[in-house]
Amino acid sequence: MMTFPILSLITFLPLVGVLFIFFVRGDDETVARNARNTALLTSVFTFALSLYMYAGFDKATADFQFVELIPWMPEVVNINYKMGVDGISIFFVLLSTFLTPICILASWESIEHRVKEYMIAFLLLETMMVGMFCALDMMLFYVFFEGVLIPMFVIIGVWGGKRRVYASFKFFLYTLLGSVLLLLAILALYGKYGTTDIPTLAGVDVPFEMQKWLWLAFMASFAVKVPMWPFHTWLPDAHVEAPTAGSVILAGVLLKMGGYGFLRLSLPILPEASLFFAPLIFSLSVVAVIYTSLVALAQEDMKKLIAYSSVAHMGFVTIGIFTLTQQGLDGAMFQMLSHGIVSAALFLCVGVVYDRLHTRDIDRYGGLVKNMPNYAAAFMVFALASVGLPGTSGFIGEFLVLAGSYQVSTTVTALAATGVVLGAAYTLLLYKRVVFGELVKPDVRAMKDLSFREVMIFAPMVILVLWMGIYPSSFTKPMAPSLEKVITDFKADIAQPEAKP
């Protein structure tokens, strides 16, 4: 245990940036420049700090590390400010702090008005995301979980596309509706056990009847966030209307909150109910994988296509988690990280061409390989990773998930595997229509290849995707103890006969 509160520092450092930006004065030009620089500096520094934390992270243990505990509402309510990371959450923290500077860089030129507010919103979002992944108290978790809504609502609503109002409202209300039920479930747990401490609650034996209700309430919240079919309808709207960086963070981190919630809360606290409802999850996920892949195949809008593909890929994650096997969990975790980078990168790829031509219509492009070779190469890496080509990050996740689900149900595995095929179909079709073909349209011909800034955005992501694909152990090793602990605890909970209340 460390006395230095590094997790709080990482979580709240972006707020320092917010304060700085808030007090920036001057003419519009100066304000915008200072806001951009401050935001980038803050987020890069936060990322560096989280890497430093990772360096000090003991990869051999499943315990929570860097734990901080401060009484929050002393004497009255037993809710504490408790932070800590284990092998599962630390990667999400890294993912969040990694993607935020990328988002800020991606918005460098495309956001021209209200830059100050935009950067504030993004840094606020970073605080909420990191805080959520570090929280070890359910109420604290919930505060961050729902707090994400505020900056994201503003990002979609102010800097979004034509139907931004509709999309932002739908996003906000849909996710809020899911999360308030989670709040009630948390309060019910608190009412019964007098604590909202996640590790403690993971140890208690909740009666099965109660578990079922709580599980459904948890699911209402996480299923919307993941999103699982049929709760996914907000996602395509939100993605299409959000600015590029908004989509990146949405696909990269926000969707993972649902999966993380299942892993961190549903499985350890409600094990019997998780087993009980696993078939439900499988059914919904299989439908998601097949149905949304087919829907993606029919899309004419690039962002919508990737949005639907996200639903399909997250379907693999939920299958993996609820196989309740070691491989399945490893796969789900890996798939989440991989998807966090790949889908984020794909949205960035759309953003690159959208910045130049201001349309997301697939048919408006074609033949980009000729005048934008670097772009075509980067796009290809991410497209293939999304397809799940061996050697890229996407392969490991999907393979492990399918290996895990094979132990549970061959039907689910077979059906989910069709999603891999369909995924290849729509992704490669998208790639072909945008990048290959004749370069005839004059405005497309005039498009310039990646700028230095864009190369700087894509380079680390390409490296990561290949690294994760070629040498996955450097990612799976540190997370293994924690995932093993989830499974062994789960097995132990299931094995013991149900305690009669």
Partner: protein
């Protein structure tokens, strides 16, 4: 004949001082030039601050006086501090507004002072007669305040409507009180409780209790006794509306809590159903009816109906957690109302006040600070963490879940999602909609800025320092239940 004993004035010292100060202020106002509004207002604020200090001083003592008709306890002191500071803030909020709208009558602050006195008496009432006296003193002042802009039709209409409906509610309350007296033979709260514990729930006593609660529900504008609220909120001068939203609601909430938990404590299973029904109806109507509103004041009226519905959830829980939740909720609700009304009172277009929601379009660009503050207030009212409003709702729902009122809790969270729609709609108008032709000016008023800054800071920072409020609310709740 009993020998005459002089009552112990100590516990009622703040009230007596306030009465004397208010009368002095009235005479001062009459003696001075009638136009001299500001000095009366400032003196009124000082008087309230002095009373605040006195209440603070007697804060922890629990004592009764005037033949046990009047109690001073931690619960009462907590609520009185809220009410007194709310009244002082209301006078501060009004200062620029009354200048612009030409309602600079010195009676305005004096009436607020008397209304505050009424509210303090209500909060401390330990007898049906004392309750009624406090309530009527407060109500009469409020009727006059609603129509203080007597040369406009809207204000007069608001005052009249408030008066007629308020009189009706007083009638119900009195009828209920007389039934209660008839069946228990007592007007004192403790005596009623003893009698009820002995005799249990009969038809007559329950009828009386329900009528009494209905009369009180009128004052906190719980559905279905809410009809007056939107009209009065809209018609009354905005600074008066602010006062209505801030102080009397909290006093009435304190009163209904004391009445339900005290004299009718033994009948908790009976009144819980009534309160739960009122609460659900208020939350639902407050959420749904506000969606269609175009006027900010009407919207805030429905919003306050909804908020009272949430507070009643805490009462329905009828335990220490519930009472504590009510007090935390009332405090945060007051802070958010102050902030919101400060913003509404600041904005003006050319020479009229901004009352339409559509007028706010483009505020995000023209008055970024104001729009930001409004955004914080709206998210907080909607109960989105990490803002203060969330914690108000959190403790309410925690109390409900603890008392196993799951239906109430589920209705509560679902209506809070519906209500979130109209709160974020205001944010949408400010930030997402293109600006209208008329620019909105923000009045340069140090007091409003100060109040807005304070309430924004509370909304933002409550998450970091919830301890003091929770601890004192807990102590107050324990005092009430003792």
């Amino acid at each position: 004949m009993m020998p005459f004993n002089s009552p112990d004035l100590g516990p009622a010292f703040p009230e007596i001082s306030l009465a004397i100060l208010a009368i002095l202020l009235l005479m001062f106002g009459v003696a001075r030039n009638k136009e001299d509004y500001h000095s009366v207002a400032n003196l009124g604020i000082f008087a309230l601050i002095a009373v605040f200090a006195m209440v603070c001083k007697f804060c922890d003592e629990s004592s009764a006086t005037f033949g046990n008709m009047f109690v001073a306890d931690a619960f009462g002191s907590f609520m009185k501090l809220l009410v007194v500071s709310g009244s002082a803030v209301s006078i501060m909020l009004a200062s620029k507004y009354v200048e612009r709208e030409r309602v600079m009558r010195f009676e305005y602050p004096v009436l607020i002072l008397f209304a505050t006195l009424g509210m303090m008496l209500m909060i401390s009432a330990n007898d049906l007669i004392a309750l009624y006296m406090g309530l009527e003193l407060q109500s009469l002042c409020l009727y006059v305040l609603a129509s203080i802009q007597r040369d406009t039709i809207r204000s007069t209409e608001a005052g009249l409507k408030y008066f007629v409906l308020g009189a009706l509610s007083s009638g119900m309350l009195l009828y209920g009180a007389s039934l209660v007296y008839g069946f228990t033979g007592a007007t004192n709260f403790e005596a009623i409780a003893t009698s009820l514990a002995a005799q249990g729930a009969g038809v007559g006593i329950v009828t009386g209790m329900v009528l009494l609660l209905a009369g009180l529900a009128f004052k906190i504008s719980a559905v279905p006794f809410h009809m007056w609220t939107p009209d009065v909120y809209e018609g009354a001068p905005t600074s008066v509306t602010a006062f209505f939203a801030i102080a009397p609601k909290i006093a009435a909430l304190a009163l209904i809590t004391r009445v339900a938990m005290g004299p009718f404590g033994p009948l908790v299973e009976e009144w819980r159903q009534v309160i739960a029904a009122l609460s659900m109806a208020s939350m639902a109507l407050g959420a749904v009816a506000a969606i269609g509103q175009t006027n900010i004041k009407r919207l805030l009226a429905y919003s306050s109906i909804g908020h009272m519905g949430y507070a009643l959830v805490g009462l329905a829980a009828a335990n220490a957690a519930g009472i504590r939740a009510i007090m935390v909720y009332a405090t945060l609700y007051m802070v958010m109302s102050i902030g919101t009304f400060a913003i509404v009172l600041m904005m003006k277009q050319k020479d009229r006040m901004v009352e339409q929601i559509s007028d706010l379009a483009g505020l995000g660009q023209r008055q970024p600070m104001l729009a930001l503050a409004m955004t914080i207030m709206m998210f907080s009212m909607a109960g989105i963490p990490p803002l203060a409003g969330f914690f108000g709702k959190l403790f309410i729902f925690q109390a409900a879940v603890n008392a196993q009122l799951y239906v109430l809790a589920v209705v509560g969270v679902l209506t809070s999602v519906i209500a979130a729609y109209y709160y974020i709609r205001i944010i949408k108008v400010m930030y997402f909609d293109p600006a209208g032709d008329e620019a909105i000016d923000a009045a340069k008023d140090g007091r409003l800025n100060f109040l807005l800054a304070v309430s924004t800071a509370v909304a933002l920072l409550f998450i970091a320092f919830p301890g003091p409020l929770l601890t004192s609310a807990e102590a107050a709740a324990q005092a009430l239940l003792k």
